[in-house]
Subunit: 455 residues, 2 copies
Amino acid sequence: MKKLLLLLFLPFSLAAQQNQDSIFIRKIADELLTNGKAYEWLRQLTKQVGGRLAGSPKFEKAVKWGESVMKEAGADHVMLQECIMPNWNRGGKDVATIIGIDGKKINRPLDVLALGNSLGTGGKAVTGEVVAVADYNELEAKKDLIKGKIVYYNYKFNPRNIDPSVSYGEAGQYRRNGASRAAKYGAVGIIIRSLTEATDNNPHTGGMTYNDSFPKIPAVAVGGDDADYLWSLAKKSTFQVSITTNGKFLPDAKGYNVIGELKGSVSADIYITIGGHLDSWDVNEGAHDDGAGVVHTLEVLRTLKALGYQPKHSIRFVLFANEENGLRGGTKYAEEAKAKNEKHLFALESDEGGFTPRGFGFTMNATQLKKVQSWMPLLAPYGTNVLRMGGGGADIGPLNRSLGTALGGFLPDTQRYFDVHHARSDVFENVHKRELLLGALNMAALIYLVDQYGL
Amino acid sequence: MKKLLLLLFLPFSLAAQQNQDSIFIRKIADELLTNGKAYEWLRQLTKQVGGRLAGSPKFEKAVKWGESVMKEAGADHVMLQECIMPNWNRGGKDVATIIGIDGKKINRPLDVLALGNSLGTGGKAVTGEVVAVADYNELEAKKDLIKGKIVYYNYKFNPRNIDPSVSYGEAGQYRRNGASRAAKYGAVGIIIRSLTEATDNNPHTGGMTYNDSFPKIPAVAVGGDDADYLWSLAKKSTFQVSITTNGKFLPDAKGYNVIGELKGSVSADIYITIGGHLDSWDVNEGAHDDGAGVVHTLEVLRTLKALGYQPKHSIRFVLFANEENGLRGGTKYAEEAKAKNEKHLFALESDEGGFTPRGFGFTMNATQLKKVQSWMPLLAPYGTNVLRMGGGGADIGPLNRSLGTALGGFLPDTQRYFDVHHARSDVFENVHKRELLLGALNMAALIYLVDQYGL
């Protein structure tokens, strides 16, 4: 009889609960779409602070801005968590020029950006004949021809990938490791096709690392038009390029994760983290990468606070210090969590841009994922159609690796992301107000559900 | 025993069938994403033809272009289906100016566009004090104050609607009927807030109609910034505006639906239609509206032909003549289908822009929808997450109304659509190559499945 009663009442109470959740998420939506400040905050961050590379004076300014807005958004308290950051500096204008074709001198400038963490040419140009390769296979095949040359990597995004972030993943190795792979065979510099399918000529920077076993040669990226030109030129001609870059590492600098907290009313010692990264590259305004994640985070805080929401768990809103060229912010956050023996239930990151929401990807076990997927009817009206295994974010990765915390990554539509990612065009004007707000809305709803029901 | 065998084999054969479909749709994707011409065709249509209002010489040019590309794309044969179109002409530059505030003369221009089908002011300015209203309720409340005045409608998109096309639907009545509703009470002109939430000042035109019972007064739209200014000004001041417009109807003009056909190999007498509309407003390039639908249609044809696909049913690829201010193309197409007693299984339209795909909406019965929804696993890898009741397209509507044909409407993400819709900013540069191609891909896959399995 008891069982029968349970069977009779369970669906009703579940339905009632889902209805309550649906009403609260609608409240989140109304508050956020009517009074949301994410877009105005992004305007401030991009236009008043601007590009904010870790270690730079602008990053310090960004920390002050973040601390102030975290308070404005309504955090119970705000902390700055110190971490030591790398301090790479571009050091000046990056220049590359085609100086000769088939024995004739010319002067055809290429629009280039040095890759982040790459070292400069020491005040003079590095010149060399160009050996163009499609990929590492071709590099290996031509390894005996490379000594004293400049290697051009033409690796292209595979247009057949539906999600460009898959293409980005495939192409990323050329930016990250291409210099040392070429230096191993005596190359004096490298040029890469930027990691993009954009129909323009903007070069895209981004992090690289050297293998200490080989000379640390200059490394620059060209945009799509110059890349096409270089590739077609290499098919028919012998040509030389000169490269002048000025990258250097200054002494490590102090930086801070900016952390706001809403204290839990039931399980205050169990944490949910939501964040994006405050640093950006130096050549743009870091609007999508990751200004969007920063203001998503602040907007979720503002909205929950504006609705008077009392979370069960403690929620931490984190602007991570250093994602682009070191991951020191996320590493520090996990280190302190471990040192203090904190319990972290879930961490959510937004670091794929401020575009229209499609859903979330998760790093968690199958039972947890099933639970999250049961919330689909509550999230779908707001744009979430995907709740899938796989995802998280660079900054929250250490939390998973050291504490086993379940992770979520916000998945906006990515078709336009790699057009602007790490390029000069990642500016406020390329962020759409409603798309940005809808991202925060879906994130706020997910955080609410995790807070209410755990995993 | 037979039944048992069926039960045993059915799941296998169904799985095998789904696998074959999955392989063919992947072929569609590879062909389309690697060799797709939609983006280049859109460049031609927008840059070489440009704005192509029904009845205008540019529309004639668009017909010639469409006929030529339909052949290039591989139609078995191409027909021009004549229809008589309205021939509204803007007649010159639309001008509106604030000429006095609180008794002081000033000269503050407003950036305006006359609404399509509205009549001009006859070579001189119409001037009047402005009565600003939020909506028709306020208009009715102020009806005794309107005689001799210019009514300003400030009806705003409701930001709480997740889908802006819902907001567009709600706001549309002010553009369509606002002039006559105000003229009924003696207004001499109207200004409307454009049907957009864009964060710029572009005015948006669009179709209106007069009620013949009342004077045909001039009607213009202002963009967001001017709208905010007018609304705040009206809260504190009395002010006058002058309006000069030049709209007129020229004699009806001959136009054409451009129709390409792939002949069916099994049921050649049963038709599937896919289309978009060839006409656009005069003030832009009609890139999203509906250049995207035009090149989607052509790309589906090109791709199926390139893959050597032999459709079971006859597929018609239609560039409709006149959606924006008359619907004469779609009406004619359905009339001829009825006159010839043709059987039309399904019609699909793309007329909500060339943005990233989200799915399709349908006008069909519940059994048909259930069948279509069973294809979700085949479509989801390409961006389709929504297969819902409700949808179609203006041009294919008459086919449903007169023949009962089941309809589908392509649903791209709409967050950015009303930023450019009917505004000067609806240009090629605001269309994203991959988003455009992915739309065609999902449409081609749906057409393939309908052709294979019917409804």
